[in-house]
Structure formats: C-alpha cells, structure tokens
Amino acid sequence: MTADTLRRSPLGHLADVLAAHSTGGERGVRLREVPFLAQLDLQLHPHGPAAQRIATALGTPLPTAPNTVTAGGPDDLQVLWLGPQEWLVLGPDGSAPTTAGLLRAALADEPGSVVDVGANRTTLELAGPAARHVLEKGCALDLHPRVFGPGRCAQTLLGKVNVILHQVDAEPAYRLLVRGSFTQYLTDWLLDAMEEYRHPPLPA
C-alpha cells in the first residue's frame, strides 16, 4: 500500500542511535521506539449498555478505576483509562480499522465516539533496572513499585512534555506515548538522562 511505503515514524531515523545508547547490566536501561501502534480514542458513558457490549467485543472490560489498564482479546488489545468516560485502545500495527469497526458496532446509536488517533502520538519504550531512575529525573509521580506498577497508566509531564505513561512490566518497563512534534525533544532529554548509566558508578 502506498501509505505503508511512505509513512515514517517520528524516531525511525534514530533507531540506531537509541540502540547505541541502550545498555544492559544491573544499571542498564534501554530505549526504543514502538512505531505505528493502533490508537483509538473511545468516549462513552462507562456504565451504559454500550460499555458492556464493547467489553464483550474487545474481550476485556473498560477499566473504570482511574489510571489503570486492562488487556485481552484475540488482538492483544490494551485499554488505558484516560478519564471517567474516555479510554485509549491500543493494538498492534494495522489493527485500527478492525477494532474501530467492532467498537462502532458495539456503540451503535448510544452517545459516544470512536476516533482513530494513531497519527497523534508515537510510543517509546524505556526498560531496564535503571528505567525508573531515568523517569524520576523529570516526572513528579511516585513511580515506586509500592505505588505504581504493571497495569498502571498516567497522563502526566515528563521533562515538561505531556505524556501518557504506561508501565508494562515489573522489570521495570514503561511505554511513553508522546505527540510526534515533541518526540525528538523528549528523546534528547531521555538520552541525556540515560547517559550516566552507561558508565560505572563513581566510588563512594
């Protein structure tokens, strides 16, 4: 398809740079882009009949607890809570048309909306033992495991940039959804914050 051969992700040209700055080991931290995730913004009343139909269609209930994520379904979709009647449905590249069709059919004529926002943000994945320490340099949320863990998400500021933060693994591993025009800046910020973990700690 023409669209597939022409499309570019905001960090596609920096994949090698991100890999070169990623490190392993007990102080390691890795950064990569997960481009072209399907992203659908969903708005509807959380307790109406459509919410139940949508849960059935997706194979997972819509999360009603603030800043939590549910996952499931044959397409391995993830549903992030964005507000009391707003969610972000994430899926693999190319799944948006099918999922949007399911959601629209389930919504039927109840008040609500299903909007493809896949071009809005790209996704960064920050993972490794030092990942939380990197985020803590520019994010005011308490990300300690006693408060924040896998299955949690938050809309917040990182390095003064609006992000959707989603912890996907206890390693820890985080996904950061960031608007395309802020991606280069946030990547520069992250690479700078990651720099110290490429070197052994100074002796105490």
Partner: protein, 97 residues
C-alpha cells in the same frame, strides 16, 4: 508549589493543572435583561476573599476534567475538592493536610 488532589487521579503537582477562577458563577438566566453594568459585573467582577475561596481547576496535563477546590487564599491550604461530574460517586471530599 501546591499539591492538588484531582478527584480521579489523586495528588498531582500544581504544574499539571489549569486555573479556572471563581466557582459557582451562575450564567444569568436572561442576559438580555441585564444592563451593561450588570453584564460587566457577571463577566469580569469576582470575589477576592482573604480566606476560603471556591474556585475551578482543570487537570490539564492529566485526565483533563474540571472540578472545584476550596482553597484558603492566605495559607493555600486546600480545604475540599469536589467533582460535579455525573459519574463521580464520591461528592465532596474533605482534604486532610
């Protein structure tokens, strides 16, 4: 910096919020009937108390919902947070600081 308890997201830095001015300013039922002075009063004139003040805040960098806060204008202590969203089951939540 204030730590404001969003009714949904919990405590977040003031930087994540947008200020919306005095709460409970009712839109005139019949704007046509107002004099220019009364209309200007509605548009521009707000209370400026020394003490508890009910005001609107939006969690702009978070869940983007509007809610009300009672803040003491001298101490900045937040005395209550209230959502009037139809799906919020909790009503007014007193904040203990």
């Amino acid at each position: 910096m204030l730590l404001i308890a969003c009714p949904w997201c919990g405590e977040r830095d003031e930087l994540e919020f947008h200020y919306g001015g005095q709460a409970h300013v009712a839109h005139p039922a019949d704007p046509e009937a107002l004099s220019d002075g009364e209309w200007a009063e509605y548009l521009f004139v707000r209370d400026n108390p020394k003490g508890p003040f009910a005001e609107r805040w939006s969690h702009a960098a978070g869940c983007r919902r509007w809610f009300s806060v009672v803040r003491h204008t001298v101490t900045h202590r937040i005395l209550a947070v209230q959502s009037n969203h139809p799906t919020a089951a909790d009503g007014t939540k007193p904040v203990t600081a």
